[in-house]
Symmetry: C2
Subunit: 421 residues, 2 copies
């Protein structure tokens, strides 16, 4: 039986018909390697922006259902065009939108999660030797409602398909050459990693590294899908392989540095210190589909017997969060609600920090040396994040990159074949 | 129970977001009349041209299946945007693509016929008070394959929905104000008809009048759907009502004149006069999905015992027809195959000509007076068509329009309510 390779191409890789022809070549090359190929594509270049612009001209608050109907057309265009380009080279290919591919999601609009994929039709077409081109980013509910998966949704589509089809590998083709120790636009000497663990990638993705959406990495980790991030313009470069931490050799405490400038900090002040208050806030936010990242609750003040609850959210959710919290104010008997979107979350990530003490203090000292004020701190086993002023983000990333010697990373520039897994 | 009105808006009516807002107003006005409203829309303005252009850049002969996948995205965009525009005015609305609306077609790409419409979901949403916006032009097969209905497909979608939903009326909104006695671009004094029968409209549509696709008129006739052609920019004008000939008062022998410049004439020369030859030709063409219009077979020549079989096709099918006939040549033992696309079919149409002799001769005399050579003639009960040189088409239409006194048609400029049916 042939191996299945899932390939995913983002919007910049299919931005025009010339680029689509280039993608067709990459697809055919993999097919000629003797593999079955399933291709997942995003909407062409600025299609989504154009559609969103028209929607905004018609409605300030377009309904999620209609936004999903609208945006899903973007991939509808790119799958058909890519399939034509492959067929024009004499290869048998067929395109499927999410409804046809059987990518079922929960019934939530604009950020649905994939529940299951019916692989029967896909497998049948692969068995007939066809290259399959599937629309990324979109799904369908049991009732035939069209949904979209939210930011980075096409990556998730690709990984979920790779898992469902038991694929050999999922290659995420993009306009960067792999995963870097930090954003090369911020730190020019940032270096490319040859491999990184799911866990580190997950923390980097959550920390705003931007290459892959955390959900796609989570899905890969959960299903043990070998994921590779590589360039659709430099196809000889093998990019970065993302795999289980157990399969890696760890030589440094910190693998990467990331900054997330898209968050906002909310502080709910003077919340009476009685049980269940935090639950009230966060269950209500969850109901409204607002994702909360860092959460910090201060010790209760002795005089007033109240505390402050601070957390961060995606800036896009500010209005909805404010509205939700204002409705809760009476129930909570809390004070002022502060909102600050001039903040950045700077993180260092590394599976190697588990066994090495002193990494956190090195990070705090570095920031102190720069005069950067730390507003919130949160940590996980393999990540330390500090909330700082937005204006301090770049210098913080540069200094941390130097501090943890990421630029001299010897595994950075390796080309050629990856070692056997 | 509320009456259902189906409204159809073509590409020019939804060409940009301002025009979509205008359409939303027309829809809401009908809803406020106390009716249930189902809206069928085409792709926005030049969307289809843009998609076709990209397809041609990728493949000279893109597959029908992928063309259907591609083009169906056009209506996907317009239904979502129109629904948002309606919702923005505070009305409950929902968009459905053909798969969701349950518009089932045969499994033929680029020109499928509608087989059935599952109205359950539509009816359920109408009962909830929702305005429904359905994608025109597209369908789905039992297997979930996306099809398109070919030219004028959105009109057919609208009429088929009106029939399936037992709608009170189907309003086809367009950029012209109704059905004219002939093309106003050719004959400036052409006048608008207040009403016309299905049969006449059908002949006019087949004859190239261009306002409505024949298939939509056929569907309306078959299901007795009251069809109205009206302007989406001059909504006070009631346009032209198309209805059963039994419901009309006939006062003139000729209702309209039309020219079709998109046809080509094929002559299969010297076909041996044995039974079954015509069947061989036309069954093969039918298999290839080539529509044949006028067919003329000459009397067998006594010396050679052969005859010529001439017919007209859509110019777009020339290559396919030539290929098909060349393959047949040996089986037929025929001579040369002549192809001429420099021809035009000029027709006069009128339910009133049934009982009035001399109409045909008046037509032939008019053309003779102009020095126009008639290449083929075909007639039906209510239509007479002559094939002429393309360069003669305009003057022929003008002269026939004068000859049958269509410009002075008294019913042409009537505004306001239509008489009760």
């Amino acid at each position: 039986m042939r191996r299945i390779i899932v390939q995913k191409f983002g919007g910049t890789s299919v931005a025009d018909t010339e680029k689509i022809k280039n993608v067709a070549k990459i697809v055919i090359k993999e097919k000629n390697n003797g593999n079955n190929v399933v291709v997942v594509v995003s909407a062409m270049g600025h299609t989504t922006d154009h559609l969103v612009k028209m929607a905004k001209e018609l409605s300030k608050t377009p309904s999620g259902r209609e936004m999903d109907m609208l945006l899903s057309t973007g991939e509808g265009i790119s799958i058909a065009l890519l399939t034509m380009a492959i067929q024009a080279q004499g290869y048998d290919a067929v395109s499927f939108n999410a409804t046809q591919a059987g990518i079922y999601t929960e019934n939530v609009h604009t950020k649905a999660r994939i529940l299951k994929i019916n692989t029967e039709k896909l497998q049948h077409n692969l068995n007939e030797g066809k290259i399959i081109v599937v629309a990324g980013f979109q799904g369908v509910t049991e009732d035939g409602e069209i949904t979209t998966l939210g930011r980075g949704g096409s990556d998730t589509s690709a990984v979920a398909l790779a898992a469902a089809l038991n694929a050999e590998r999922c290659d995420i083709y993009t306009d960067v050459e792999g995963v870097y120790t930090t954003d090369p636009r911020v730190v020019p000497k940032a270096s490319k990693l040859k491999e990184i663990s799911y866990e580190e990638m997950l923390e980097l993705a959550h920390a705003g590294a931007g290459v892959l959406h955390p959900r796609s990495v989570e899905t890969a980790k959960l299903n043990n899908v070998a994921l590779r991030v590589r360039s659709s313009f430099k196809t000889d470069d093998m990019g970065t392989l993302i795999l289980g931490v157990d399969k890696m050799e760890i030589d440094k405490p910190v693998t990467g540095v990331a900054a997330d400038l898209t968050q906002a900090r909310i502080v709910v002040c003077d919340v009476p210190d009685v049980p269940g208050q935090a639950a009230k806030i966060f269950s209500k936010l969850a109901q409204e589909n607002i994702s909360v990242d860092m959460i910090i609750q201060s010790y209760a003040r002795k005089v007033s017997n109240t505390n402050d609850i601070a957390f961060t959210i995606d800036s896009a959710d500010i209005d909805k969060t404010e509205e939700t919290l204002n409705k809760l104010k009476e129930t909570l008997h809390c004070g002022e609600i502060q909102i600050n979107s001039d903040i950045a979350k700077v993180s260092i990530v590394g599976a190697g920090m588990i066994d090495r003490p002193g990494i956190a203090s090195a990070m705090f000292e570095t920031l102190a040396r720069l005069g950067v004020n730390i507003k919130m701190i949160s940590t996980s086993e393999i990540k330390i994040s500090c909330l700082v002023d937005k204006t301090d983000a770049n210098k913080a990333v540069q200094a941390l990159h130097d501090e943890f010697e990421l630029a001299s990373d010897v595994i950075a520039d390796v080309k050629g074949d990856l070692p056997p897994q």
